[in-house]
Structure formats: structure tokens, C-alpha cells
């Protein structure tokens, strides 16, 4: 067996992984491979939660409030309990301990305790022999309410401090207020050559994964509770179940089966998980709850609507001197991740541009609507829209190409943001260059015929956060790894595969380091009995954190194998390479053996080949030294640039997005196919919320008497679109052409230099589209979504034309 191997490949450069594979085989890390788990999922073999049926399983349905804001006076469950086929009913008082994904703001109950706070707030749950019987039983539960005035706009919620949605909240309906100031903003504003000032409204949108939430609980007679759930945070689910059910965590096993999309919509516990657990204890039988599509819309936790006022100051050369931002966040009925959202609304704006002074003031309020939370690009998509539109306005006023304006303000790599975040690698300029080249920007910007336009925007996102959402010094991610005599690698990880590819990523790292093929790696993930803790699939943390843990575990095992082979072959361990099912000497091609044999020899010398790896993020010199200065700080930051090309129909106001080019700096693409997929999916989702999607409630005035009106539109807080027919997400015929461009600025903190790719590429899609609309017809839409009637109104105002 011979193959040419150059000796200079011995040094494994952390960032420039050697991609020279064995004969006929490409590289694993960095190579274009399919998704590891795709085939069994798409063939009806691997199971999502609702695909699981347990013996004697009961079905659970929830009773939900028809009022946006009301006191619960009494609940009569006798009618349901009398129905044949009903095994148990549970109400809020049986689970009185409040919970919340953020431990500082536990303001939710599994089922509403004394009050309901939005239309759809769950108040009771039934377990019955079938969904049909459970539905009928729910109809027979009588809840008496005292209806209260509903507060559905954040302005009303602010104004009515006397009418608290949560009675024990300290400051009226304000769930969080953050005010941070860096440098003398007012002086910078006063001295600026140009101040761009404006109001921006960012509307609500929701995740709408195609799989609805589903959970199953089973108890084993000895008190062990097992919960299967379509969640993206099995660890937080286990913690909150323990809290609400008053069980030790060791008595709870959480298994996350395959998840059919999440995007942040499954990143905290929901009523169904507590209810099936409680009902499983009450009945002694397994219980399943599958949300209807409407219930998915009610569970929500989608993008917060933001009302923003921004002032950005510029020097005559286009340099940003100050940003002064004020935001009002419409939080909905519960806190959810809101504390973090409120910080993120300002904290994540500090790159890719440098600016010497910064102030942000963000207020999140409760309203009587489904709770908002983290949707892909949590908390930072909205401010990014305002800023990037302001940069576009400034470039027009200053007569600068908007690309050039962004270049001039580039913060650079190994830099520190105004709010104290330490940026490592930074490929933003390469991203800009990539989209400029791919789109033909120079020939298009300002040069396309009227009705056609092109726009640019840039952004930055985090690769996980430095701190867990509960105080701990424990690792944020960990992996156990085991090799066996069959030549297989088993990876046990708490990671949540939600379609983003975390399982493939772990398999690639293990295969790369241990010299096996991708299919030789079994990743057993997200089972709290089998796997070490990982915090979950949120804030784009898994590749960096679990990837590093996996790399450590794999390298530990790889070193053991090399050590044993080095003794056997009498060559230095550094001369030995494990690749594509072979162990071999780099310098002497005659010296090699199959990897399975290498595993067997090593195991026979050392005993079972197991290892662990864990990841704890850097805790010093990475964030700001002030209250809140740690929130939003990340081990590594990703960068993105978008260029969008649009066509605006001047008769109808309709915007057709023709093409979006997105370049994303993911550090190092462990699997370029999957990185492209994340970019394309993000851009699609951003474009969809820019022009089409809206998680909106019925238009209505405020009720002052707490009673229903005799006539007039709607009831407060009622969702306009709670089906996939009315909530319009783009079909295959509505999607623009998407070009995903991978930029790699390896970061020393990422595995092989890798950073995130799942959320960053959404952000600047939206302002790029808004800026392109302006380029096309000279109309600025500062309140999203960019709907045809707003564009048409803008065109009318511009031309003074009359309708028709």
C-alpha cells in the first residue's frame, strides 16, 4: 500500500486542517458530505416525538383561555371526569411552582394559576384514551373568569402601570429595563457632521417549524419519569421539570428524539411537557400531547416587535461617531428569555463597525399576547435593521458608496467593541468583498433602471454565550467517547440536533481525529441518562462548544492510539496518522494497519478506550467590566454581509426579491454543505419576515370597561394568523434566488477555527432588502414588514399621484 504523503503535513495546524485524504476519499472536516442522520429521518425509519407510540398510552389535550386577560374564579372539571375514557384531569393548583427558562424571572405556571394573560393561556389538561375523547372532555371543563382589561400594545402596557399583567412585578408592566452608556454620546452627537435620526418598527414573526411541539411522559413504577420531547433544550427541560414537579433531577430522564425544526421556538419548557409528566404520575400510564398548529402559534416565543428610535452620528468622511438607541420591546404575556433579549437588543450591535460612543436604552414590557422569545438571531435582528438602514441613509447623504462607508468603519480583527466584547477573528471585509464580486455591485448600485434596486447590509453574531443562563462553573458542553473492537466510534453528547447538523458536526470531528469514516461514528445525543450535559441548541453555541469538547475527547483517544502504535512500530507518535480507516506512518508508507486493528491493539494494552472532553468558555478578558457586561459576550463572533436585488412594481407596490447574495464568515466550515444550508435557510427566513410574515393580532381599540363590545372589530390580543394558510411563509415559488458564500476567518477559540453559521446569516438580509427597495424607487420603509400597501403609499407620497 503506497500513497504519496509529504512530510510537511505532520504539523497539524489548528486552523489549516490538512485536507489531503486517502485514495478516493475526500477530507472529512472541511469536505462536502451529506447530513449524517438525513436518510433514516426522511424515510420514515427514525422517529420524531409524535412517531413514538407507547403501550397503554393516553392522550392529553389542554383547555385554553378565550380571554386575553382575566382572573380565574373557578374551574369545574367534573363534567370531564365523568366522561368515559377520561383518566385524569389536572389544573394549575396542582403544579403551583412557577418556572421560567431564565432562573431570575420565573413568571410562568404549567397551567394558569389565578390569572390568564393571553388568549390561549392553558388552564387545564386532560388525559384520555384518545385525542378525540380528550378534546370532548376539554369542552366539558367549565372555567369561570372575571374578564379584565387587556393591554395589547406596549405603549398601553407602559402607560397603565396601575393595571399589572403580573401582580408581583415590581415596575408596572416593565419586565426589564437596560440603560448602558459608553463614552460621551451627547458630545459626539453635537460635534457630528451628520446625524441620521429616525423611528423604526420591527414587527413580530414566529418560527413555524413544520413539526408541532409534542411530548410524551412515562413513569416506571419506581418513580423514574421519562419525558420525550420535541425540545431544543433538554437540559433546561430536565431542570424545570424537577422544579415544578418537585423531583430530584436524577429521577428524571429527558430524551429528545429527532426534532422537526425549532429555530428558537422550542428553546424553553412549555405547558405540554409539565402536563404529560403530571398526568403520567396521576394515571400510571404513558401520556402524549401533540400541539395543534394553532397551539404552536400560541406557544410562540417568536421575534419581539420593537419600536426603535435611533440617532447615529457621522463624521464627514463617514466614520461613525455615536449611536444613540432607544427601544421598546413588546414582550407578550411572559418573560421567557426576555431579560436576555433586552440586553441583546443593545449589546450585540458593537461589531462589525467601530464607534467611539454608544448609548442604548431598552425597555421590555408585558402585553396580553403570546409570549415573545428567541427567534433565530435573538434580540439582535431588530436593532441591526435600524442601524443598517441608517448607514444606508448616511451613505446617500454623504455621497459615499454604502460598501465604502462600511469598510471605513470596520472594527478589525482582535479588537474590542465599545461595550467591551473581545473580537477574535473577523472576516467581515472578506464577506463584503465576496458579495460585491458575486452580485456585480459596482455595475448595479445606483445604476439599475427605476423599479430595480440593490442594497447592502452587514452584521455580526455570537457563537454561544460565555455564561450559562443559570450560575454555574460547570462545563457548558461535554462529550464522552468510546471506541470499540468493531472499529466504531461512539459519541455521547447532550447536544440537540434540530436539523442544523450538530450530529454531523460531531461525527465529522470524531471521524477526522480517529481515522474512521463518517458512517463509523454513532452519535448518541440528547438523552439525559446516556449523555453528559450540553445546554442546548440556542445562541449558535453547539459547533464551538460541543465541537471543542468533542475535539478534546477525540484527540485524547487519538493520542493513546498513536502512543501504542509508536511503541509497536518504533517510530515517533508524531509520525503516525489516523485517516480513512487506516493508521499509518507519514514517513514510511509501508507501515500501516487498518484502524480497527489499531483500536484492538490499543484496547488490548490499555483497556476500554473511553475519553471525555468538556468545554468551558473563557471567563476573563472577553467581556465588559460592568453590570450586564457579560451578557452577549461570546468566545467568537461570526460576520455576515448581504446584498439583495429587488424589483418593485410601481403600480402595485409589490416587492419581488430577485436574488440575495450572502457571505458568512463561519471561521472554518466543518461541513460546507451544511454551512451553505444554514446560510440559505437563514436568508430565506429573513427575507420572509422582511416582506411576508407577520405574527399579528387583530386590530382593535382598548377596552375600558373590561367587557366585550357589542360591535366593532375583534377582541384584544387575538392572533390574525394562526394557521399555515394565514401565516404566509414563502413557498417554493416565492423564494428568491439565494447564493451562499462561505468566508473562513478561523478563530483560535473554535474547533478547527469554526464559528457559528446558523443565525448570523439571517440578520442583515432584512436591511439589505429595505435598502434595495430604496435604491429601486426611492421609498424608505422603516416599519416592517415591507408590504405592498406601504410601498404604494410611499410611492404616492413621493409623486403626489392620486390613487388609480
Amino acid at each position: 500500500m503506497s500513497r504519496p504523503i509529504s512530510s510537511d503535513k505532520t504539523a497539524r495546524d489548528l486552523h489549516r486542517l490538512d485536507t489531503d485524504g486517502a485514495e478516493g476519499s475526500g477530507p472529512i472536516v472541511g469536505g462536502r458530505h451529506g447530513k449524517h442522520d438525513a436518510l433514516p429521518l426522511m424515510s420514515g425509519i427514525d422517529r420524531y416525538t409524535d412517531d413514538i407510540t407507547l403501550p397503554r398510552m393516553l392522550h392529553c389535550k389542554l383547555v385554553r383561555s378565550p380571554h386575553a386577560h382575566a382572573k380565574i374564579i373557578a374551574i369545574d372539571t367534573s363534567g370531564a371526569e365523568a366522561l368515559e375514557g377520561v383518566h385524569a384531569v389536572v389544573i394549575g393548583s396542582e403544579m403551583p411552582i412557577p418556572y421560567g427558562v431564565i432562573p431570575w424571572t420565573p413568571d410562568e405556571h404549567a397551567l394558569a394559576l389565578h390569572k390568564v394573560r393571553f388568549v390561549g393561556d392553558p388552564v387545564a389538561a386532560v388525559a384520555a384514551v384518545s385525542e378525540e375523547v380528550a378534546i370532548e372532555a376539554c369542552r366539558r371543563i367549565v372555567v369561570r373568569y372575571e374578564v379584565l382589561e387587556a393591554l395589547v400594545t406596549p405603549q398601553a402596557a407602559l402607560a397603565r402601570a396601575d393595571l399589572k399583567i403580573h401582580e408581583d412585578n415590581r415596575h408596572g408592566n416593565i419586565t426589564k429595563h437596560v440603560h448602558l452608556e459608553f463614552g460621551d454620546v451627547d458630545a459626539a452627537l453635537a460635534a457630528a457632521a451628520l446625524v441620521v435620526e429616525g423611528d423604526y418598527q420591527f414587527h413580530g414573526s414566529t418560527h413555524a417549524p413544520i413539526e408541532p411541539h409534542c411530548a410524551i411522559a412515562s413513569v416506571d413504577g419506581k418513580g423514574l419519569l421519562t419525558v420525550w420531547s420535541a425540545t431544543q433544550v433538554p437540559h433546561y427541560l430536565q431542570r424545570e421539570l424537577a422544579k415544578v414537579l418537585e423531583l430530584p433531577m436524577r429521577q428524571i430522564r429527558v430524551i429528545q428524539p429527532a426534532v422537526g425544526g425549532a429555530f428558537g421556538g422550542k428553546s424553553e419548557p412549555f405547558a405540554l411537557e409539565f402536563c404529560v409528566a403530571k398526568l403520567a404520575f396521576k394515571t400510571g400510564r404513558p401520556v402524549k400531547c401533540l400541539y395543534t398548529r394553532e397551539e404552536v402559534f400560541l406557544a410562540h416565543r417568536g421575534r419581539h416587535p420593537f419600536d426603535m428610535h435611533y440617532r447615529t452620528a457621522f463624521a464627514a468622511d463617514g466614520k461613525i461617531l455615536a449611536i444613540d438607541a432607544k427601544s421598546l420591546l413588546d414582550g407578550g404575556a411572559y418573560s421567557s428569555f426576555g431579560l436576555v433579549t433586552t440586553y441583546y437588543s443593545g449589546q450585540l450591535l458593537g461589531a462589525p463597525y467601530r464607534f467611539p460612543t454608544y448609548r442604548f436604552d431598552s425597555t421590555r414590557v408585558y402585553t396580553n399576547k403570546p409570549a415573545c422569545g428567541p427567534k433565530r438571531g435573538h434580540g439582535s435582528v431588530q436593532p441591526r435593521f435600524a442601524l443598517e438602514v441608517q448607514l444606508d441613509k448616511a451613505s446617500r447623504t454623504l455621497g459615499l458608496d454604502p460598501i465604502e462607508l462600511r469598510r471605513r468603519n470596520f472594527i478589525g480583527e482582535n479588537s474590542v467593541t465599545i461595550n467591551g466584547f473581545h473580537i477574535g477573528s473577523n472576516g467581515f471585509l472578506q464577506c463584503l468583498e465576496a458579495v460585491v464580486q458575486a452580485s456585480g455591485w459596482a455595475e448595479k448600485w445606483g445604476k439599475l433602471p427605476r423599479g430595480h434596486g440593490i442594497g447592502v447590509a452587514g452584521s455580526c453574531y455570537i457563537s454561544g454565550t460565555n455564561y450559562c443562563i443559570y450560575p454555574t462553573e460547570l462545563p457548558q458542553s461535554a462529550v464522552q467517547m468510546c471506541l470499540d473492537r468493531s472499529g466504531r466510534v461512539r459519541v455521547f453528547a447532550g447536544t440537540s440536533e434540530i436539523g442544523q447538523g450538530s450530529t454531523t458536526m460531531l461525527a465529522a470531528i470524531a471521524a477526522q481525529e480517529l481515522g474512521v469514516e463518517l458512517d463509523d461514528v454513532r452519535v448518541l445525543a440528547a438523552d439525559s441518562d446516556l449523555c453528559p450535559v450540553d445546554l442546548g441548541a440556542y445562541s449558535s453555541r453547539i459547533t464551538l462548544m460541543a465541537g471543542n469538547a468533542c475535539l478534546t475527547a477525540a484527540r485524547t483517544l487519538g493520542d493513546k492510539i498513536r502512543d501504542i502504535l509508536a511503541q509497536l512500530w518504533g517510530i515517533p507518535a508524531a509520525d503516525i496518522r489516523l485517516e480513512h480507516r487506516r493508521a499509518f506512518s507519514l514517513t514510511n508508507p509501508q507501515v500501516w494497519m487498518p484502524i480497527q486493528e489499531a483500536f484492538i491493539i490499543t484496547e488490548s494494552k490499555l483497556g476500554l478506550l473511553g475519553s471525555t472532553g468538556s468545554y468551558t468558555s473563557p471567563q476573563s478578558a472577553v467581556h465588559g467590566d460592568y453590570r450586564g457586561g457579560t451578557i452577549g459576550a461570546s468566545p467568537a463572533y461570526s460576520f455576515t454581509a448581504h446584498i439583495a436585488q429587488v424589483q418593485v412594481d410601481e403600480d402595485t407596490g409589490e416587492v419581488t426579491i430577485e436574488h440575495i447574495w450572502c457571505a458568512h464568515d463561519c471561521g472554518h466550515a466543518i461541513n460546507p454543505v451544511l454551512v451553505e444550508g444554514q446560510i440559505e435557510g437563514s436568508v430565506y427566513m429573513g427575507a420572509a419576515e422582511a416582506v411576508m410574515e407577520h405574527h399579528d393580532t387583530l386590530p382593535s381599540g382598548l377596552r375600558t370597561d373590561g367587557r366585550r363590545r357589542d360591535s366593532g372589530p375583534g377582541v384584544d390580543g387575538l392572533l390574525m394568523a394562526s394557521s399555515l394558510l394565514d401565516y404566509r411563509m414563502p413557498t417554493s415559488l416565492d423564494v428568491p434566488q439565494l447564493t451562499a458564500l462561505i468566508v473562513q476567518a478561523p478563530d483560535p477559540r473554535g474547533p478547527y477555527g469554526a464559528k457559528e453559521a446558523g443565525e448570523g446569516p439571517l440578520h442583515s438580509a432584512i436591511p439589505a432588502i429595505a435598502n434595495a427597495v430604496f435604491d429601486a424607487v426611492g421609498v424608505r420603509i422603516d416599519n416592517l414588514p415591507i408590504s405592498p400597501e406601504k410601498v404604494l403609499r410611499g410611492l404616492r407620497n413621493q409623486a403626489g399621484r392620486k390613487p388609480c
Binding site: T292, T652, D726, L733
Partner: protein, 330 residues
Amino acid sequence: MLRLPPFDVHLPDELGAALALLAKHGRQARPMQGGTDLVPNLKLGQTKLEHAVLLAGIDELHGIELDDGELRLGAATGLNALAQDPQVQAHLPALAFAASRIASPQIRSMGTLGGNLCLDTRCRYINQSELWRQALGGCLKSHGRECHVVPGGQGCVAALSSDTAPVLIAYGACVHIAGWQDSALVRRHIALADLYDSDGVRHLRLADAEIVTAVRVPLPSANVHVGYRKWAVRKSIDFPLISVALRLERSDTGSLLAGLLVVSVLGPRPRVIDLKALAGRTIDADLAKALGQMAFDRCRPLPNVPYDADYRRERLAVEVRRLCTEMLNL
């Protein structure tokens, strides 16, 4: 998931048997073709029934035939079949086009012409879940007493969203109806435009035991042109938010002899505007503009279906103008 409430299902293979079943169960029974409209409505609890009478097994309802200068389209003709049928494409191209633009490929392979003509009316206040309607307190079409679209309104204004109805009205189609009286099958036929009533709760002028069996369309002469356009937010899946069909009869000199403008998704029935006021005018860009203006002046979309009603009105004018412009070169 949303489950269907229990009901019984009948699969008659004869028209008489189907009608007898419908007659026997009265308002408790409904005919069902592809089910693409009725099943979702049943799942949402907005329609209730005890007996579904499936019509797919009745031979008489199938088939497309050319007969005596008319095209006879069986009510059970699939929407895809309609769109792809060579005779329909040759003689009624606007119908084939309209059928090809309905909802999605799956809906078109399941849905039928009869079902599309007899679609229930839609409104943002009724096509919702039970919880939603409970929260709202119902409306004229559900269990309530007030209209949320027209405050104080006494009549339901839910809209017809059929893509085939406006274009078939423009073609001058008539519908053949079979009913059941005194244990006997009775037949009648009416102009398609007369099938629809202005009450959104009961917008089809059909008795309880009556069904549409076929549509007959006179083959248009060479100087008659029919076109169709619709607007929906998405290019697939969506119901139209405004739709227009236009019939132009052209003289040898290129002027308008007669014509019809049919506007749908306004209310429970399509709005048919006779163009005799414009007779004699040259069919040109100016006429297109005038038609757009006429549609704008005479139609007032309501906030009954999603989207801003004022915008739908402006959009209607543009769609009419563009439709006429498309037809100038025919």
C-alpha cells in the same frame, strides 16, 4: 392534531342514491367531492354534519365532452384534469389557466370543479379555530349575532374564493343541478351567476338535496376573448385575495361589441359588471384604463378576507387594467 368530529360517511355509486341520502338527512348531510374545503372546515368546527355523502363514485358526474356546441364539464372533474384537458385548453383557455392556478398541486389533484364552484365562503372571522371564535364571540356565520366586518351589518359578507367561478361566468356557463323531490330525481339548470346569493351563510341557491352535476359552457366564437387574473400574497397554496375575469367581444374593426367584467372575493357572490356602457369603444390601452377605473369605482372590497381592504381595491383596478392589456393582442 386537529381531529375530525365523528360523522358517518356514505359512498353511493348512483346519483339517485346520493340525492336520496341527502334528502333523508337534510341539513345534517353534505355532499363531498375532494374534501379540500369541507374537511378543513369540519376540522375547525366551523361546519358541522352528521353524514358526508361522497360523490366520487357516481359516473354521471365525471367526464368532459363536446356536445352540441357546448363543452360539458362533469362536476367531479379534477382541477388538474381540467387544467390539462386538451379540449378545455383549446376552447376555454382562461378556464384551464384559472384551474392551473388554484392553491397547490396536491389540492388540484384532489379538488374538483363542482367543489371549487361550491366552495364555502371565507372570512377572517370564521375560518379560524373554535378557541378563536369562542374568544371573539362568534359572528353571523358561526354561532354569534354580530358581523365583525361590517359593524351593525345584518347580512353575512363572507367572500367566495373560487377561481373557476368568475371565469366560467365570463364564459356564460350554466350549471346543471340534480335534486330529489317526492322520491324522484329532478333536474334543472341555471346560469352560473345565478347559483350565488348575497348571503354569506347560505350563498348557494341549492336546496338541501340538490347538487351540481355538471357545467355546460357554450364554445365562444372567434371574436370572444376571456381572460383571468388573480392576486394572492403567495404564488402557491393561497386563496385569491382578489380575482377578475374579463369577457370581451370584439367587432371586425377592433371595437368592443359587448363584454363582462366579473370580480370575485368581494362578497358571497361574484360581482358581474356588464360593459355595455363601453360598447363601441376601441379595445386598446385606454379601454384597459377605463375598465380599471370602473372596477375601482364600482367595487369596494371589505375587510372580510385577510389583507388591507383599501389596498385590495387599488390592486383590483391594477389587475383589471393588466388583464385587459394582456388581452389586447388576442
